[in-house]
Symmetry: C2
Subunit: 387 residues, 2 copies
């Protein structure tokens, strides 16, 4: 059961390495000769524990996770994370300080906007550090607001600062980890760019994301948390402070204590994470991957920039995502034509997010250099014929 490499650029669930997918598919039928498959073995069996530990250890190795931090897996995807962060981190802050902390959110695209709305809904005292829509001509997302405009809460009262490192819909990526007030915990949604670049995990209180872009399939999310943030105030204290109580299946401390198997974690999904990360280690790790991602992105952006009469790139150059390259095409019907002609060449998954339209190239780790080249050639060719 092998397949030719797909030239697929969808934003997520996204393409994964064919060898990993083929391996996982075989394991779904009969894992390690057990006679039953990855979806059927107990999540507490020795085999499942090995898979969970394997995935954890691979991520620790790739990201050089310090001993101060722990890696775990949960359900609920990115949106589940939006809620889980509020519960858990306000609980941890209350444990440490006896207070309900304020929370600071960067709004840089649809996903951080959703996370902000969720925090407000769940009763957090939210301060918006900056809303990128105030910094573009058309009031849409497309830039990271200048650092000197960021307004943080008093660090003495702040439970955490939240940002989305890469906005999959808007195509905006923080060029570097944002500098925030000292002593405040930094929380990052890295759903769509984790494992695409070298990272200094020690800077973060929490990194999280859905697995279904760079590292796996839907059904599991990854978390990298500073261990000191695991203990939470007791329920009575939380109630007194008007902090929403964490549901058990989203309780980071409970999940870590149970090695990610408190709730029935999807072992097939964790297995894919284990194999994707294993492959990346063999490839040479995140330095190699970062260089490749940057080169692929640079080549695609260069092709688009070379034909500005045709292709319109809305994102500020410094804040362009290396993962999600978004653009529109001037001229009636040309976007449809682009998608149709690309599909005819086997280049698929290029339609922009339904909320913004246009074209979106997702340049995740599984998109090979060859695949990016093919697309770049098509971009040039299409320009030649339609400019």
């Amino acid at each position: 059961m092998t397949r030719p490499h797909p030239n697929y650029y969808g934003a997520g669930p996204a393409l994964l390495p064919s060898e990993v997918i083929e391996d996982a598919a075989a394991g779904m039928v009969n894992y390690q000769g057990l006679g039953i498959g990855l979806g059927e073995i107990s999540h507490r069996s020795g085999q499942a524990t090995e898979i969970i530990n394997g995935a954890k250890n691979n991520l620790k190795q790739l990201l050089d996770v310090p001993d101060t931090h722990e890696v775990f897996f949960a359900q609920g995807g990115g949106s589940g994370g939006f809620a889980a962060i509020v519960y858990n981190l306000l609980g941890a802050y209350a444990k440490e300080t006896g207070k309900k902390g304020k929370v600071d959110y960067f709004i840089t695209g649809d996903w951080s906007k959703k996370a902000t709305d969720e925090a407000i809904k769940l009763g957090a005292d939210v301060n918006v550090v900056s809303d990128s829509r105030k910094f573009t001509d058309n009031g849409k997302f497309g830039v990271i607001a200048p650092q000197d405009t960021w307004t943080f809460s008093d660090p003495k009262d702040t439970a955490y600062v939240y940002y989305c490192d890469n906005e999959t819909v808007a195509g905006v990526e923080f060029p570097e980890t944002p500098k925030i007030p000292e002593g405040v915990e930094l929380v990052a949604d890295m759903s769509s760019n984790i494992l695409s670049k070298v990272l200094d995990v020690s800077k973060f209180g929490l990194i999280f994301g859905g697995a279904q872009k760079n590292i796996g399939i839907a059904g599991v999310s990854f978390y990298i948390i500073k261990k000191s943030l695991l203990p939470k105030a007791d329920v009575a204290t939380l109630r007194k402070l008007d902090i929403a109580v964490t549901p058990s299946f989203m309780d980071f401390e409970i999940i870590v204590k149970n090695n990610s198997a408190y709730n029935t974690v999807s072992i097939p999904a964790v297995y894919v994470v284990e194999k994707v990360s294993e492959q990346l280690i063999k490839k040479g790790g995140l330095k190699v991957q970062q260089k490749e991602a940057e080169e692929k992105a640079a080549s695609l952006y260069a092709a688009l920039d070379a034909h500005k009469k045709l292709y319109n790139l809305p994102v500020a150059v410094a804040d362009r995502s290396k993962m999600n390259i978004v653009f529109t095409i001037h001229g009636e019907g040309l976007e449809d034509k682009f998608l149709k002609e690309a599909a005819a060449k086997g280049l698929t998954g290029l339609k922009g997010h339904r909320s913004v339209g246009g074209i979106r190239i997702s340049n995740y780790n599984a998109v090979t250099v060859q695949s990016a080249e093919l697309l770049k050639d098509f971009i040039n060719e299409f320009a030649k014929q339609n400019e």
Copy 2:
């Protein structure tokens, strides 16, 4: 990629039909000739929508779900459901009545105990209808308390009555749907016996469960809800009434509005549900399955009952689960010997839950008649040699 039928009796994640697993594995590599697999296609693609609708419609057909009810899928498993029910159904009750409703819980085993604890933790006003441990000699689970001992809250103030239809650890199953005060919504955890018997869905406000026993793999849960329970009071009202606000990714109304794809639902997991239910429709539906389950269970219980000196069955006969047959073996070392000799014959997954020990046979739909026969023969043979 085919496999011999496994004689596996694990409690969950559990055995699934080999044809379904083989089909899903092929789909993981290349689904419908798209060139990419089930874990890689967008959860909003036409193919994914067809899979979600297919699974929904199959469940509706099998369970004869009336138009008053809706089927949907979510993340979080059974434990996620324990929390989601509190949020959503208290919210719905507040919308309808302007009040915070009381909630009534049957405690009949580990799972309903966990659900009860979760409701208390999340601030619900919990009344325990009955605690089965008060009705056994050893204070352990093993019986459904007699109906005349059940104590319900005033039906005028009750948001819902909760019970677990089949307790996977204790091996206790309600012989029939419990009779509760008229006008009160009935909520059932059917994680481990859904699709094992004919059901009158119209009696229920909500039926839910993790998929990973009778109907699929981990990573997705199923819900069947009365549509009138979807709208919830607004956040301000909930706060005023001291009701915990529903996180968006667990909000039944939001999930239904987005046809189970608000959050990135695991399409491979839903695909397995679609195929398992499709196969069951072809087999003749729930009447056929119920008869088969009853016959398999009766045959296994009869073999165990025939050797009472050796096998100890702790559950009251009337309340014995047809899905999870639990017993211990008198005599030192005999349980280990039983497990070892069974494994040598290829009969696996028989170890009891780590919290109670002993032996557990899970008799889910994918355990064939032949597989149950093999185990029955082994039970008899082992008795002959060790009694």
